[in-house]
């Protein structure tokens, strides 16, 4: 160990952190993987050897400082080591989404100018060989899993072991490797992460060693992470969340990362490992609840009763107990009993018993889902992050959890809201540039280091950030009030009876909305209430249905009235559409996102009627495409409802602000 490496102040790159970890916690587990049904463990000392041998092997193959190297595959220890190996030589790892098709992958490799690749298995090797037919710069492909590859006699394709062997053959390889690491510095590019991008080609976000380490240390401080944490790595390695949680933070805090046996065994693996620190997008949490609810449908009556009873107890008191607020003694007793009989076993099933901190990020989580886990006693929190910020922008501190906000700026992050409502941030973790894309860099990052998040939001009375919509979708009413359509629509859509909603208001005096009822949900309600209907149109026009939807809209207005920035954007009139918005008619995308421009055009008559105070009904004829491709017209006579708006208490906002 060289003198510098022992000095904590110079642990400014991740490979240097590896040297430190091997020295101060060499015998502690760094990585586990379940193989042939048994958990295999690698300590930090083992990790050092693995990384070193691979790095020197890659060096022998010609990998140099600044070269790009692709990493492709599911979460495997060897792929994480490959990242560190590359970084130890000053090369730049480029993780690629393992399920992207050859063409998408080819674009990334070509754009990043990748010459080396470390990949998981035959599937990926085949893809890369296909890419190599046109992209000739790809020189060396190293594979982890040899299955199916024994008989590949292709130049530049070799096994992981062979490369490590090559590394060990290099004379004085340990010293050479340490010298390479010593040359690394904080401003080196650590990684290029290509954002999957819903529009256009993916962009390569360049993050420095300094940014990654800042992110890891900020998180460690925010949540008091220690080397005793257990994390399971199962999200794509090309995603910034996994890169920071399963890689950078592990090296910074010294905790153990566990790789599941297969993508299908995660829940069970998580249970066996006893994860203490979890990170997942909302859909993972949603799926667990759905599975539970489906299973409970089939459970025996006493079990169902017990489940429902204790879940109600948890809803009432669980969050308060979690946050350490005062709770009546009897409630505490009931909760304790519930924990014994329901919550404990449930969390054990989910593999979340030992979770000390759980995060959800990536998209908005439904408040119901969020509260469910918190009620069970799991410390689930929200995080707002972006690839461009090395994840961390804001996070919810313990004890200050509001389902509809994403928390306060994390250590070292500055936040401001631009005039158009867009959230902007600045931190030591922000990206250097979009790789080879100056225009995009200039559009996103100001010269003094502020980054446009692309999201509109505001800071609420508690100082917590609230994200309301994509910035480009947010409009303004004529009186200047902020009009975030998706925010309002999502509030409506949280009611199971409302399937789809389209809000109007940009450049108008008031906000109005189209509503689609949910046929399954409203249909079953109609059945229970003896309402006879023959079609969607008939049900949608039913007086009782209107009454029900009116109460939902009123509820949304009540919520809006309490929020300063959007209080003026209450829905003044609405109508229930005579047909469902349909992907076959092009009104929504296949992923169920409303195509606003097309809706505006097709339903212009209805929109006009909504803004004509004299009109109480409007006739409309719409062309529809049936499932078999035939076209036809449907006619409707749609009723328009006026809403009574809630009073806005401006005084209370001012008070809160002071």
């Amino acid at each position: 160990m060289t003198a510098e490496a022992q000095d904590a102040s110079v642990h400014d790159t991740i490979p240097k952190l590896l040297l430190r970890n091997a020295q101060i916690r060499g015998a502690r587990p760094a990585m586990r993987e379940k193989d042939l049904g048994i958990w295999q463990t690698w300590t930090w000392a083992d990790t050092l050897q693995e990384v070193r041998d691979l790095a020197m092997g890659l060096r022998a193959l010609g990998l140099k400082r600044g070269d790009r190297i692709a990493i492709v595959g599911d979460n495997r220890p060897r792929l994480y080591w490959a990242i560190c190996s590359a970084q130890s030589l000053g090369a730049i790892p480029v993780p690629v989404y393992q399920d992207s098709v050859a063409e998408e992958m080819g674009y990334v490799l070509d754009h990043a100018g990748v010459q080396f690749a470390v990949v998981e298995n035959q599937e990926q090797v085949d893809k890369l060989l296909e890419i190599r037919e046109t992209y000739k710069d790809l020189k060396e492909i190293v594979f982890d899993e040899p299955r199916g590859l024994q008989n590949y006699d292709v130049e530049g394709v070799r096994s992981y072991e062979a490369v490590q062997e090559l590394g060990r053959e290099t004379s004085a390889h340990d010293q050479l490797w340490r010298d390479e690491i010593a040359r690394g510095k904080s401003s080196d590019t650590a990684i290029i992460l290509y954002t999957s991008g819903t529009t256009g080609r993916p962009k390569g976000v360049v993050l420095t060693q300094g940014a990654c380490i800042w992110a890891a240390e900020t998180a460690a401080e925010f949540d008091n992470l220690t080397e005793a944490e257990e994390v399971i790595a199962y999200l794509p390695m090309a995603w910034v969340g996994d890169h920071v949680f399963s890689y950078a933070q592990s090296y910074a805090s010294g905790y153990c990362v566990n790789c599941p046996e297969s993508p299908e065994t995660i829940v069970q693996d998580r249970r066996e490992v006893g994860t203490t620190y979890a990170f997942a997008p909302p859909r993972i949490y949603e799926n667990l609840i759905t599975q539970t609810m489906v299973a409970m449908e089939d459970a025996s009556v006493p079990k169902k009763r017990m489940f429902e009873y204790f879940l109600a107890v948890a809803r009432d008191y669980g969050e308060d107990i979690l946050d350490g607020k005062p709770v009546p003694f009897v409630a505490r007793l009931k909760y304790w009993l519930g924990n014994l009989m329901v919550y404990g076993p449930l969390k054990n099933r989910y593999g979340l018993s030992k979770v000390r901190i759980g995060y959800t990020a990536g998209e908005a989580i439904g408040p119901e889902i969020f509260k469910y886990y918190r009620a069970l006693g799991m410390n689930l929190k929200q995080l707002y992050g972006q690839t461009e910020a090395a994840v961390y922008i804001t996070g919810q501190p313990d004890g200050e959890i509001y389902a509809d906000t994403v928390g306060i700026p994390m250590g070292g992050v500055e936040i401001k809201v631009a005039d158009n409502g867009e959230v902007m941030y600045r931190s030591p973790g922000i990206f250097t540039e979009y790789y080879k894309n100056e225009d995009a860099t200039r559009d996103t990052r100001t010269p003094d280091g502020w980054v446009h998040s692309g999201d509109a939001g505001f800071i609420d009375e508690n100082g917590h950030l609230k994200i309301i919509d994509r910035a480009k979708d947010v409009g303004k009413l004529n009186d200047g009030t902020l009009f975030p359509p998706k925010y309002i629509e999502n509030k409506l859509k949280f009611f199971p009876n409302i399937k789809e909603a389209v809000a109007f208001g940009d450049g108008r005096d008031t906000v109005t909305a189209f509503i689609n009822i949910d046929l399954t949900s409203v249909g079953s309600w109609a059945e229970r209430n003896n309402i006879v209907y023959a079609s969607y149109q008939e049900l949608a026009g039913h007086a009782d249905v209107y009454k029900m939807i009116e109460s939902h809209v009123d509820e949304v207005n009540r919520e809006l009235a309490q929020e300063e920035r959007v209080a003026g954007a209450q829905i003044s009139r609405f109508l229930i559409l005579h047909k469902e918005l349909d992907a076959d008619d092009g009104e929504i995308t296949r992923t169920a996102k409303v195509r606003r421009s097309l809706v505006n055009e097709r339903y212009a008559v209805l929109i006009d009627a909504l803004y004509d105070p004299g009109k109480k009904r409007q006739k409309i004829k719409t062309e529809v495409t049936f499932e078999d491709g035939r076209r036809g017209d449907i006619e409707g006579d749609v009723e328009i409802r006026d809403m009574k708006l809630h009073a806005i208490d401006r005084a209370s906002f001012r008070e809160a602000a002071e």
Binding site: L36, G37, I38, R147, N151, S262, Q268
Partner: protein, 272 residues
């Protein structure tokens, strides 16, 4: 993956002299007056994937049943690994290294995937019943060794996530995979697959095809399979034998067979 590479595990140079593993000569099988198989001869070379195809009722499954000794042919003989028999018994076939899967999945539905696959190791367990009841010492040692082999197969077929699930609860495609796993647990030299892809969707078929090729490639297992999906047969097999109404009407490489007029007639019907 080309066939020449696959056979490279065998002792002989595959290009010059394929080694015959199983030879069926002039086999006739009848049930009462019904001739299921009429005077059929063909062989299976070591290391190849041999497909048996034909329209419904052509005698394909009967042929497999003859090979593993479930049926005894009235006429003809079978040579397996140089040993000729007129009558085979299923347990002898199994002990000699012939494993099979069934057209209709035949697993222990109440048992877990793991236990089902372990049952494939039965013939290789040597400790007697009492030792096994003790689950101690040598019996435990043996169990661990076998479990290790079974885990390798579980990993190979990517069924880790259903290790503990009772097979009765699994979807059909996975049950087929478990059945293949059990057959592989026997470490067979010859693997008979009776419609391994029946009732599967395209994705499941692709998975299964890959597993069959990998088994052949990795373990050097000789495979005879019955299959209806012509695309699969053409892609997987080294040679194809075609049966129709119990008679052999063609035998050769997939390309030869698919251009054979008798085969086309048998499949599409002939105008009389």
């Amino acid at each position: 993956m080309n066939p020449a590479v696959k056979a490279s595990d065998t002792d002989n140079d595959p290009a010059t002299a394929p080694q015959v593993m199983l030879d069926v000569r002039n086999v006739t099988l009848s049930f009462g007056g019904v001739h299921a198989i009429k005077d059929v001869s063909f062989n299976i070379n070591k290391g190849e994937i041999r497909a048996i195809i034909g329209p419904n009722g052509a005698g394909k499954t009967s042929m497999l049943n003859v090979i593993n000794g479930f049926y005894n042919p009235q006429v003809g003989e079978i040579t397996f690994k140089g040993e000729t028999r007129t009558q085979m018994r299923p347990y002898i076939a199994a002990a000699q290294g012939i494993a099979r899967t069934f057209q209709n999945v035949a697993l222990f539905r109440g048992m877990s995937t793991l236990d089902n696959i372990m049952s494939g190791r039965t013939l290789k367990m040597h400790k007697n019943f009492f030792w096994q009841m003790l689950r101690y010492g040598p019996a435990m040692q043996e169990e661990v060794e076998h479990r290790e082999r079974v885990e390798e197969i579980i990993d190979f077929l990517e069924i880790q996530h259903i290790r503990r699930t009772p097979v009765g609860r699994l979807p059909y495609g996975l049950q087929k995979r478990v059945e293949l796993a059990r057959a592989l647990a026997m470490e067979p030299e010859l693997l008979l697959l009776d419609e391994p892809m029946a009732g599967m969707n395209l994705e499941e078929k692709e998975d299964m095809s890959r597993f069959i090729l990998d088994v052949n490639d990795q373990f050097g297992t000789t495979i005879a399979l019955i299959e209806h999906d012509m695309g699969v047969v053409m892609d997987l097999s080294t040679r194809v034998v075609v049966l129709d109404h119990g008679e052999k009407i063609a035998d050769g490489t997939p390309a030869e067979v698919s251009s054979n007029q008798d085969v086309i007639d048998a499949y599409l019907g002939v105008a009389h």
